[in-house]
Every structure is written in C-alpha cells, then in structure tokens.
Symmetry: C2
C-alpha cells in the first residue's frame, strides 16, 4: 500500500518546519468523530486494519523524493529525512467492526511529532469513508432484518471511483450485507458475489420469454430473472413458465427481480402468482434507488421481499456523503494538550474508552477516561502497533463480520432504528473531567 504521498501538503511543510527547528517531541494524536448524522444511532468503526497496514508500511520512494525536490519547496536535509522516514510509533485502536459513538477516541498514535503529523490525512481518508459505509450499511441491514430480509450491495456504478467500490463493498459486508455485485471486491476480499441481469439483456432478445430461457439455460440453478422491462406481472408469468420448466428438469429458479413501480404492491402480486405456480421457493429481489427509509416502509407494508439490492444510497452514504472524523493533538512533551476554541473543542490527554454492560446484558454506557484511569468496563482500544510493527494480528474478514454483528446485537434496539431520537450515553470519567477543568482554567476559559 503505497500511500506515503497520500497526504496534504501542510503535513509535509509542518514536518519540514519541525525538522528545521530540531523539534521532534513525542506526541500523541487521537482520531475520533465529532457527531453522528441526524437519526443515526451509532457508527461501526472500520478502516482500522487498513490504517494499521498503512502506518507500518510508509516509505517514500525515489520518484516521491524526486517530485518533491522538483517542487523546490524543501531543503535537501528534509528530503534526506523523508528518504529515511519510517513510522516507528505506537498505535492503540478499537477492533475493526466495533460500534462507536461521537467524541470517543478510536485510534491513538504516539510517535515523534513528524511521524504522527504526516499520517493525519491518509488515516482520516480511509477511516472516515470505511466507517461511514459500514455504519450506513448497518442501518440498511437492520431495516431489512426487521422484515426477515437481507441486503446485497449493488453500488459499484455510483461509488466514488474504484477504491470506494472495493472498500465500500467490504464495509457493507462487515456490517451484515450478504454479498456484493462487485466482482473485483469478491476477488480481493472473498465477499460472496450476487447478481441478476440488466434490462439490456431482455431487450436484446425478440421476447422476454426467450431472454429468460436463454439465461436459464446457462444458469439453470441460480438465475434471478428481471421482470419489469415491459410489464411486471406479465414478466412474472414468463418467469413462472421458466421456473416450471426448470423444475421439470430437476433444476430450481433462484428468484425474480423488481426494479421499478410500486415495489410493495408488485411484490405481493408476484408472490401470489409464483406461489400459485408452485414456485414458493423462488425469491423476490427488489432494487430501485433503495435505502433504509424505503426498506422500512416496505417492511411495514409487509412486502414479501427476500433480498434488497441496495446501490447508490449505500455506497455513497447518501445524503450524508461524509462524516466529521478528526485527528487531534492530545499530548506532547509539554503534557496534555487541548484545542480550546469553543466550536472545535477537543478533550486532552491520552485517553481510553470503557464500555459497560447493563443488567439486561446489553451495552448500557461508555466512559471516556484518561488511559490510565481505573474504570469498571471493557477498554475498547488495544495495542495494535509497537515500534512501528504490527503486534495485533490481522483478523480474517469473516471474523471481523461475526464480531461486528455480535457487537451490534449487544446494542439496545432503540439505537438501531432509522430515526434514532436519543444518544447512547457517553460519560466523561472523573480524572479526565478534572484535567479539562484545569486546562480551561489555566487558559482563562
């Protein structure tokens, strides 16, 4: 992962000024997310494993150095510094797939100031996006689950370029999607692949029935036929004919797909029609600009939909589009540091998040504390990188997914709706409170 140059110019200029001034304190930065989008109950931390891979692999190669030299901004001594640059610090982080809340530190970097500063832009780039998509997907999956349905991720064509398609498919799978249409994501991550057919396929045959038969010949055991190209109910009749032909040959039609119209009403009619043809096992897939709100409405209307194919709104987290992850200096050789401007205040000191279980076995509250405070609860961040090397093994994707789904199951249901009115309680521990008060007082706030 060659992301050394994936940084904002100011990270390099600040580093150059530090190197010039021979100022290389050990500093601690923490990454957290300021707020939740309206109606969201939680985030699922994601991108953590990519962050660890990135941190432990940063190298500036010859081309990088040559480019920076040509820019004429930097002294040779700084270019030499970059050529030798390694991240040699320590990283604590929550596990990939952990539910998290605003203003909780989820990744903490302690390293020489130059090292801790350089990595800000790339860390935020990967963790902001992957966390946003996992969290959005979790909302969609929860809505579908309330109707005993599942979600497949179909967003590649509306993803923000290739990486977003790949990492987005992975994030959605971790959050509970059952598969993706993205073939490359299937190859890179081992995510199950899902897919149906396009209207163009139907249109390139003389009749819909001919198109269905051609497709079923090639995929007799896993066809999902798209039935809305001309008339959905007629399409369902055609699909039923093919379904019975397949059954007669000992095969099984997989499903039919609705992609337009009143999905709830059509699903009911199509379900009845299929059942009347003895095709009760044929599943109904629905797509068409879906999101958690539309799925919730379909579930409430008892639409007999088995699989929701969700594209645009999931992969671009529409309309949220971006979440406010930040990476802030919290300590250096001068002790705990705190950004004081009222709009953008940050909590000082090396911190930890402790999660507490209630009498019902569900998560009841979190406590943000100084890292060495004694708090009853499970600490969420553990040591992931020491001396620049990974010390926490990288889990397999299926294990991350199982963990994430298990953790979401432990959240009270009231935080899993599509329009969550209240915030999960996150308290500040006594010693952290005292530190904040001291620093505010010292600076006259």
């Amino acid at each position: 992962m060659d992301k050394a140059m994936l940084t904002d110019l100011y990270e390099l200029t600040m580093m150059a000024a530090y190197v010039d001034g021979r100022k290389d304190d050990t500093a601690t930065f923490e990454l957290s997310i300021r707020t939740l989008p309206e109606g969201w109950g939680y985030y699922i931390a994601n991108g953590i494993e990519d962050a660890i891979d990135y941190l432990t692999g940063i190298r500036f190669d010859r081309r990088d150095i040559a480019f920076l030299k040509k820019k004429g901004l930097f002294k040779q001594s700084f270019l030499d510094f970059l050529e030798r640059f390694r991240f040699a610090g320590e990283v604590h982080a929550v596990r990939e797939g952990t539910p998290i809340f605003p203003n909780e530190p989820i990744l903490r970097v302690t390293a020489k100031l130059t090292q801790a500063q350089l990595v800000e832009s790339a860390l935020l780039n990967m963790i902001n996006f992957q966390t946003m998509i996992a969290s959005k997907a979790s909302r969609v999956v929860n809505a579908a689950a309330r109707g005993n349905a599942v979600v497949a991720e179909f967003g590649l064509r509306r993803a923000h370029e290739e990486d977003a398609g790949l990492k987005g498919a992975r994030a959605a799978y971790i959050a509970g999607a059952v598969g993706t249409s993205n073939v490359k994501a299937g190859m890179e991550y081992g995510i199950p692949l899902a897919g149906t057919m396009a209207h163009s396929f139907i249109m390139s045959f003389s009749t819909e029935l001919e198109a269905f038969r051609a497709y079923a010949r090639t995929f007799p055991d896993r066809s999902t036929l798209l039935i809305d190209t001309y008339d959905t109910l007629q399409g369902a009749e055609h699909a039923a004919i093919v379904g019975r032909e397949l059954a007669a040959a000992g095969k099984q039609l997989g499903g039919v797909r609705l992609d337009s119209g009143n999905l709830g009403a059509l699903a009911k009619k199509v379900r009845t029609l299929l059942d009347d043809h003895g095709l009760a096992k044929v599943r109904i897939v629905a797509s068409s600009d879906l999101n958690e709100y539309k799925i919730e409405a379909l579930v409430k209307a008892d639409a007999p939909i088995d699989i929701y194919g969700v594209g645009t709104d999931l992969i671009a987290a529409k309309p949220v589009a971006a979440i406010p992850g930040i990476y802030k200096l919290v300590a250096d050789n001068g002790g705990a540091r705190m950004k004081l401007s009222p709009e953008k205040r940050s909590a000082p000191g090396k911190k930890q998040v402790f999660r507490c279980v209630g009498a019902d076995g569900k998560y009841a509250q979190d406590i943000v504390a100084l890292h060495d405070e004694q708090i009853a609860g499970v600490p969420l961040m553990t040591l992931a990188v020491k001396n620049g090397r990974r010390v926490r093994p990288k889990p397999a994707l299926e294990r991350i997914r199982d963990y994430a789904l298990g953790e979401v199951a432990k959240l009270p249901n009231k935080f899993k709706g599509i329009d969550v009115p209240s915030s999960y309680p996150v308290e500040t521990a006594p010693a952290l409170k005292a530190l904040i008060a001291t620093l505010m007082k010292r600076s006259g706030y």
Copy 2:
C-alpha cells in the same frame, strides 16, 4: 489500469449467456445522465479520458480467470473467451471538460454485445464520479469568482478513499480550482499544490508567535499562517509581527488563514489590521466546511477573502453524493432499441448532440438527434476509439482545463448561479422524434 474485474457480476453472467447462445450482435450503448441535482445548471463531463484508457486496455489476467473458475459459475468455454477478450469496438465521446445536460448522450459504444455489456459498470463508476466533482467544483469556483476569489481543493481527508481523492482533485482543477492540498494528486497529475498549517502545529509550540516564527523561518516566502487557534484577532496581530519581520528581511508573508467563527466579519477586521501594518499583499484564506452557498453569502457580504479552501462538500459533492448516470442499449442487429417503462424511458438509436450558438455568442440550445441527421450546430461527440484503439489523442491536463473554462464561459450566466431555476434548452430533432413515436406506437404505448 487493471479494471477488467471492476464490473458487476451480472455483466459477466449476461456475457456468459450470450456466449452460450452464440448471440453476439453488434450493439450500441449510450451513456447519459438522467437529471441535474436541484439548483444545478449544468454538468461538466469528466472521466472521459479514463474511460478511453480503460476501454482500450481491458485484459483478464491469470489471477482473474483462476478466481472466476474457482467460483464454479462459468463453463470453461466462457473462461477461455475471457482469456482472449479484447475490446475491439468503436467509441464516440464528448471532449473531457465539456458542459453537458440531462439526457444527452456523452459517450457512445458500438461493439459486440459482450464487449459493450462488460464495460457498463466501470464506465459509470468513473464518469459518474468525475463528472459530479467537476460539476460541483465549477459551482464553487463560479461562486468564488463573483467575489474575485479563487478556490483550492482541500478535501483529501473526507474523500471516499484514495482514488476519489486523486480523481477528485483532478476534476476540481479542470473545473477551475487553482490547486489541491493532495500531494499525490500533485505528483500524478501535475496539479499545483496548496497548503497552510494545522492547529496542532501552533499547539506544539509554547506560544502562537513562536510557532509562526518557526514556520516562517522554513518557508520565508510562502507561509500561510493559521490564526484562529486561540483568538483570531490576536492571531492576526502575531501574523502581522511575523509579516513585518519577513518584510524587513526582504521576504514576503504569503497569507493568513481563518478556519472558524464568523468568517465574513473576521476577514474584514483582519484585512484592516493587516493593511494598517502595511501588509496589503498578504492574502486571506478561509476554510471551515465551505461550499458554494456559504461562499455566495460571504461574497454578498463583501468579505475580503482571496482564497477559499474547500474540502468535504466539494470532494464528496455533499449533499448530492451521487449522480444518475446510466448506460443504455439504443441499437442492435434488430435496429433501434428503447426502454419503454414510463419511469425509466430512454431515447432510441445512435445519437449525437448538436450545440447551437446564439446571437450573443453564448450557447443557446442543444439538439439531440440521430447521429446521421443533418442539424445546424456543433456535434459534441467525436470518434475516440476505433477497432479498440485510441484515435483521439489524450490532451494534457492544462489543455483540458483551458477548454473546460472556455466552454463554461460560453454558457449564459443564468445557468451558473447556486440556485438555477430554469433548464438549458435541449430539443429533440425531427427524425429522432419520429423514431420515438414509431417505436412507442409499435409497442402499444
């Protein structure tokens, strides 16, 4: 560019069914965008050059084939087909940076059905995103220009992963941004780099003044000092001290940056303060979750801001997040094809867009016509790929940018506001109208 596997599973299954049925018509697909986001006046077509590179370079390598084989979905004959696969078709496309409007074809692929089908997902992935960002950036640039200010792209940390950061910086530059903070984008595309400093830099020194001096020592001729860490006006005083020290040494402070508070009011006070210190050349940079709406308000309030640093809302095109680009079959061996369902109707036949200039020298209207209709106006799509090879040379980035800015200049101003009430006129030519009527009638609509 290894994007052969960056496709939706259904493209491959449809291809397999075509290969199985020995159905390999020559087909034509067109890419267009259904609608404009509310208040937007135009799109700037972007991602076209990437699309051409992609189309002319598709190869399935051994790893790809081995993965597909392992999935157990496909016959060996289809895997052999993929191993030999090349795109050998013809592509017409608008020039990168061309203003375009809803339902205008902007890229047309004519090729064997299997070839034209495979490429749908990747084409949409790149053109949707890059067009969205160029268009959003153009709105932001236009708003700033009304206040004689310029825009720098600062969005890396909120971009949807690395590719979005890189391609987004490029799209913003084409649309008129003057630079990017993204160092890798600077290296890959030659975009000018811009940057200031972070609050953490200020906080890691004992005093703000000490931090400013340290930075100015390293960058005596191009420092932009961030002045809002503690108190913005006090920060401006400190910056003025450093500005005068630099001036005394024959150097020049570049600028100061505001990142919080009432930007308009603060900019006025800071401008006066700097001018009073004889620092009229020091520019004021503003950032803080900016977008075209906030910039418009600042311009209307006569805020003396020279450079707007725009991040999140630009790079994620917030709140739009995704645009509805589609890729539809318009013709095959059976003649012109048309999707008839009322919600998602597409115009049939191989088409062209003609652009007409009005008496004032500005663009007056576009006419969508059959490709061989004789229409007065400039045809926007030209032949870019023939027999699978690029025949239209790839322009340099600066040329694309000059072209895009020149074309936007020719649009009437009423389409360049932040809240455009009317649509640019796009007419349908007579022969195309007649074809639509014939096909609708034939199918009973």
